[in-house]
Symmetry: C2
Subunit: 248 residues, 2 copies
Amino acid sequence: MKEMRYFYVPDAGRQTELPPDEAAHALRVLRLKAGDEFFLMDGAGSFFRAELTVTSAKRCMYAVKAVLPQTKTWNGHIHLAIAPTKMMERMEWLVEKATEIGFDELSLLDCRFSERRQVKTARLEKIVVSAVKQSRKPWKPLVHEMTDFKTFVESRQKGRYFIAHCYDDVPKEDLYDKLTKHSGNEDVTVLIGPEGDFSIEEVNFALEHGCEPVSLGASRLRTETAGLLAVSMAQLAFRIRTNETDLK
Amino acid sequence: MKEMRYFYVPDAGRQTELPPDEAAHALRVLRLKAGDEFFLMDGAGSFFRAELTVTSAKRCMYAVKAVLPQTKTWNGHIHLAIAPTKMMERMEWLVEKATEIGFDELSLLDCRFSERRQVKTARLEKIVVSAVKQSRKPWKPLVHEMTDFKTFVESRQKGRYFIAHCYDDVPKEDLYDKLTKHSGNEDVTVLIGPEGDFSIEEVNFALEHGCEPVSLGASRLRTETAGLLAVSMAQLAFRIRTNETDLK
């Protein structure tokens, strides 16, 4: 049985043509022809069953045969705000894995001890789209450009904000306990610092602005591992069970 | 403040000399001299405070000043048995991250649909040691050579065995629920299949040999992501809280 192909097409329901890179893949790698069926993902909650109608050397026109609205598999909104690591490949893996496991939004923080002040978000975006397709996520996580730490903290939106830090003298609670025990608000943002941690001034600034100080457990984790563990904790805390009857 | 150095020395308490690679690092990179202090990790539950006594061009003799027995931060024994991915770098990342987050044993499975039948475990072992040092783990996870799937299942040791698979028609329960709700036995082995999943014969063989069928949730995950999520679930289910009083 041939596996169905998925293409990522923003606003797929109102478009009639695959974007150039997806068209190139459809024509040159998959060798699709007029009449072949495939799925489109709009990254905004819908899949579409579609048929290739007309192709040229580089273009693919399609017609939507069915709209397939998807349902969310977790509650609330999981937002990871992290200081990018010096080695970009560690961030690339983080966004791939976080997308697979499931999250909603990525912010990049420019912190006092950051070892990286510039990030090509276009490349991260590309990895996110690839992981969205591979793991069949109906919603594509948002990726933001790098923001100054204080600006990010001051502009905080709705939901609960947590800051993970390693200072022994600033009391903190376990993130997973916080997420599971005080439920009801499932819009969360978790701030993860750079390799050298947040500065103590940054931690205090965040606390003054309503962030709750948290720990991710007893392990000493690299930045990107902390980011993925935070996403995994939120995912485990907020996931929606579709097969409750199976679970004893 | 200069951060303390950690060296990995199996049986450190009974040795008096750093292994060649650690000695080279101590001499050429860290430029340690006689009288300098550092920590040793034996990978078996103890740290040691030690002092460099005599150095030559390539050798470092040390004297242990204090034995520092460590305490476990999770209960039971977390054993991941996984079919290695085609791309070895995905396995390398998995062992690094699983070591950081915390697990006890890694087995590599040769399955019917495996895309990789040979693995240089020496390289994985090196990555595990590096992650043990970086994340300061008192116990080094065991790494085994590749085993045939059926041989592995038949030779099963103590504890509970779980097999994660994607077949819709074989009932399965959620791994995290299994780990948290039926507590008491915290020695677990989780089997994760290759990119093309276990064969249905392999799943049935495992079930006949007492494995419990499980799911890792609604997400479609890559092999290495499934492995890490399984380890994260076991870690969250079995971790020991040292600061219970902090937790409300």
